[in-house]
């Protein structure tokens, strides 16, 4: 199989549940040129080197293959910076120094050194939320639950709304938009079909709608400060001043979407992985101190963000005998590098006690996951409570149905049968 073929197969929706054989094929050429001049990086060491190389840009304007921000929601205006959203990019699509400055401006309201207590203080709320979700499932009395809809999704979306100050009542609206956008960001051959074009058109419209929604929210906070990070980003000065209003919107969207979607996928994949591997559910229930390491292992095996298409080469870059020509788009395939047998012994095996597990599920370098500490807290509590309360869970279908996106990859549903839920 040529890298081109493997890449095309990888992107096909029919292979979403198990893309890993195609990653293995691709990894025979750890840095491979595929369609559209894209360089796909699947080797662990090669990926690590490029993630840290200052000649690799994350500026989406420089890459022909990057996800472009939503079309301008409003005409740019010289006089009102609040309306100049068209050209601003979120930090994940930016380079230093703008990236660094934006990340610090956002981090000051989220983590240390300025806000060291925000995440730890969420623990009791998260405990309450996950227990309430199981109480609800128990009250329904069904012996079948959907881990995604009943458990994995409601928690992170409530948490991120709370952190950002996004009204939870708006969830039904933005949930549809986010789903549309992910459905439409299709890099596979299906994108060219009539249905693919329809999905892409719908994604564009939904991206506009969610951008419009976020502009409204940010403008409202500018008029009337409220609770949460977004209002602080709009209204409060830090050591480096305020984030330019035009940047608040794309960064707020990034935090809202990345702030829950990847966590949903991780919780679902934790349950799926434990149930696929006989004995591991019981092992972790008996030894909860293994939970944090097991979660990292799931993230290695089933990275919530399988790759990210923002990067490009700003110079000819020689890596392990291959020269990536200047200007080429570079896709860092975290999901593939995380199963590189040259880095992880028995890479396809779930080993909850794996040592030396420096996987790339959170990426590496300056774009390392912003919300990782919050996600870790949520998933640890969610899994621990699930292990303690859910009696004898079994998978109903394996593999479960997956969502379309290859980038943000996770089950659409995860049905399990249970014998009950403990108090």
């Amino acid at each position: 199989m040529t890298p081109d073929t493997a890449y095309a197969e990888l992107m096909k929706f029919e292979n979403r549940a198990d893309p890993y054989p195609f990653f293995d094929e691709l990894r025979k050429t750890p840095v491979a040129r595929v369609a559209n001049g894209i360089y796909v990086v699947t080797g662990y060491r090669e990926l690590m080197a490029l993630a840290h190389d200052p000649r690799v840009s994350s500026d989406s304007r420089r890459s022909t293959a990057a996800l472009q921000p939503a079309a301008k929601a409003r005409p740019e205006s010289e006089t009102n910076p609040m309306e100049a959203y068209g050209s601003a990019r979120s930090m994940i699509n930016s380079d230093p120094p703008d990236h660094d400055r934006a990340r610090r401006q956002a981090m000051q309201f989220f983590g240390p050194p300025h806000s060291p207590d925000l995440i730890p203080k969420m623990e009791p709320d998260i405990q309450r939320m996950v227990n309430a979700l199981l109480d609800k499932a128990k009250a329904r009395g069904n012996t079948r639950i959907d881990v995604v809809d009943d458990y994995a999704y409601p928690l992170p979306v409530s948490v991120i709304c709370n952190v950002l100050g996004v009204p939870l009542k708006d969830e039904q609206r933005f949930h549809v938009w986010v789903s549309d956008v992910f459905e439409g960001k299709d890099l596979g051959p299906e994108a060219a079909t009539e249905e693919g074009k329809r999905r892409s058109e719908k994604a564009r419209a939904s991206a506009e709608a969610i951008t419009e929604y976020m502009i409204g929210l940010v403008e409202q906070f500018a008029r009337e400060p409220g609770e949460g990070m977004l209002s602080k980003m709009v209204n409060e000065d830090g050591p480096e001043g305020r984030m330019p209003p035009g940047e608040v919107v794309p960064n707020a969207l990034l935090l809202l979407v990345a702030g829950h979607d990847s966590t949903v996928n991780l919780i679902a994949h934790c349950v799926l992985t434990l149930l696929r591997n006989p004995g591991s559910f019981e092992l972790l229930r008996g030894r909860p101190e293994l939970i944090p390491g097991a979660i990292e292992e799931v993230l290695r095996l089933q990275s919530s963000v399988q790759f990210f298409p923002s990067r490009s080469a700003t110079a000819d870059i020689e890596i392990n005998g291959t020269v990536i020509p200047k200007g080429s788009p570079i896709f860092l395939m975290y999901g593939a590098a995380n199963r590189d047998p040259g880095r992880f012994p028995n890479p396809n095996q779930f080993d909850p006690e794996r040592r030396d597990n420096q996987h790339l599920g959170w990426a590496s370098g300056i774009h390392t996951c912003f919300g990782g500490p919050l996600a870790r807290l949520e998933v640890n509590i969610a899994l621990e409570v699930f292990l303690r309360r859910v009696v004898n869970p079994r998978l109903v279908v394996d593999p479960p149905p997956y969502r379309r996106s290859m980038i943000f990859r996770g089950p659409r549903h995860l049905l399990i049968d249970i014998d009950g839920i403990r108090d």
Binding site: H52, P54, S57, D95, P96, A313, T314, I366
Partner: protein, 471 residues
């Protein structure tokens, strides 16, 4: 076949026997000593393990002593090192080792006790270099900083609100403490003989940036001067300092941060390659004897070790860095219970960090090995940048100011001896990307008199001899 199988069986039995019944003594109960003990148990060593330390304290972490402890965030006795695992050792704390008898394989303690060993790990580290004038050093208010007791005393003195603090020597420790003083709102003078702070470790180009940082934060930084005298009051408390430029000023607290002295005196007469520079060992942590012949049963780790480094033309390097102690201890422990075929080299990429004046400074490689420097990323003015050091067209070190996430990239370049200067970044390019001289002090300046001489004429008698007392 049979013969070779039985030979390998015998060897395997020897290793097993040593792991079960061997006696290992570790001299030095700080980071390297503790991590070596843990690693020995991880390696399956179940024999007797003795850890000797001259301080009465359990192993503790030193980096916070010049930072969080002095700021008053953490009490000085609250930096105990986390234990990786139980070590089941006999701890002889508060007992200094005073001698080593290699022939009878015994460590002599100050109490007169002898501790026998089959294998020995030397991890005695360094101590603070005291103020050169003992009378002045004995004045109340004159401090050095190396131990947690030092930190407790200095913290109390700073908390008492001295009118002015004098810091003698602007290396990492002196600079970090000057930073703490400013955070505490204390007036502080830093006197440095070189032209800028941090010059020994990072060179004059970075030193000038560090000097600006100090002055911007209100430090009275005086460079190119020496402190000539400290004067006390009738009560024996330091009150005044006189500098080589003739200036005299009032001080209530003086910190002498003059670098370190390696704790090797106890090895005098043991016939090891030890002295001013530390204890020389191979890259597998085995000590050299005085003739430069490697020994079989004596190993060295941590600040006191000095080993040849592949990346740096096999020069013998002492790396007084935290992770060098950890990784060196692990390699030493492994090699202490392994035969030659299984031994590993300790080939660290040197790495260090410091925090001062709101800037996180991190480095990899050996800066002073280079003679050129180039700012590679970011902005010096905004004090967020990366810089690389080069020597003969190869990159040998890098340093970052508030830019540590990029260090891994430079580390990989250094490990490959990649070309210097490195290629320009694709973004956030500094204003000037031309290499300039790094401005390190001349390493040829004499620092110690040789005290080893060659003796003997017949080839079988030829050897080196330690002649102490010539210093």
């Amino acid at each position: 076949m049979n013969a070779s199988r039985s030979a390998s069986t015998i060897v395997a039995e020897l290793v097993t026997a040593f792991k079960t019944r061997g006696r290992i003594v570790i001299v030095g109960a700080s980071l390297a000593g503790l991590r070596a003990a843990e690693a020995l148990r991880d390696e399956g060593f179940s024999g007797s393990l003795t850890i000797i330390g001259d301080e009465p304290h359990e192993p503790y972490d030193r980096p916070p002593l010049s930072k969080q402890v002095l700021k008053g965030w953490v009490p000085a006795d609250h930096t105990k090192l986390p234990r990786v695992r139980a070590v089941d050792a006999e701890w002889r704390l508060g007992e200094a080792a005073t001698g080593l008898d290699r022939a009878s394989r015994q460590v002599r303690l100050a109490s007169g006790d002898q501790v026998p060993f089959d294998r020995l790990l030397i991890a005695t580290g360094t101590r603070a270099r005291p103020w050169f004038n003992p009378k002045e050093a004995a004045l109340d208010g004159v401090f050095t900083l190396r131990t947690c007791d030092d930190a407790a005393r200095l913290q109390a003195a700073l908390a008492a609100g001295p009118r002015r603090v004098l810091i003698i020597g602007a290396g990492f420790i002196g600079s970090e403490i000057a930073s703490v003083c400013r955070e505490l709102g204390l007036a502080v003078t830093v006197a440095e003989r070189a032209e800028a702070p941090l010059v020994g470790a990072l060179g004059g180009v970075i030193g000038n940036i560090a000097a600006e940082m100090q002055r911007d934060h209100g430090v009275d930084l005086r460079t190119g001067v020496a402190v000539e005298a400290l004067e006390g009051d009738a009560g024996g408390h330091v009150r005044r300092a006189r500098l080589s430029d003739g200036s005299i000023f009032d001080v209530d607290v003086v910190l002498a941060s003059l670098g370190s002295i390696r704790n090797t005196e106890w090895l005098e007469g043991a016939g090891l390659a030890s002295g001013f520079w530390g204890v020389a060992c191979d890259a597998g942590c085995r000590a050299f004897d005085i003739n430069g012949v490697v020994t079989d049963n004596i190993f060295v780790a941590g600040d006191v070790a000095r080993a040849p480094h592949v990346l740096y033309e096999y020069q013998f390097l002492s790396l007084e860095h935290w992770d060098n102690a950890v990784f060196g201890a692990q390699v030493a422990a492994h090699n202490m219970v392994s035969l030659e075929a299984d031994r590993r080299p300790h080939l660290p990429l040197p790495a260090f960090w410091s925090g001062q004046f709101g800037v996180n400074i991190k480095g990899v490689g050996v800066g002073p090995f280079g003679d050129e420097i180039v700012i590679t990323q970011g902005s010096v003015k905004e004090r967020r940048f990366a810089a690389a050091y080069g020597r003969r067209g190869r990159i040998v070190a890098a340093v970052t100011f508030n830019h540590g996430k990029w260090l891994e990239y430079y580390g990989a370049l250094i490990e490959r001896s990649a070309p210097f200067p490195p290629p320009p970044p694709g973004f956030d390019q500094p204003a000037d990307m031309h290499p300039v001289p790094a401005e390190f002090p001349d390493p040829r300046a004499p620092t110690a008199l040789p005290d080893v001489v060659l003796t003997g004429h017949d080839p079988t008698e030829r050897g080196a001899e330690f002649r102490p007392g010539r210093r």
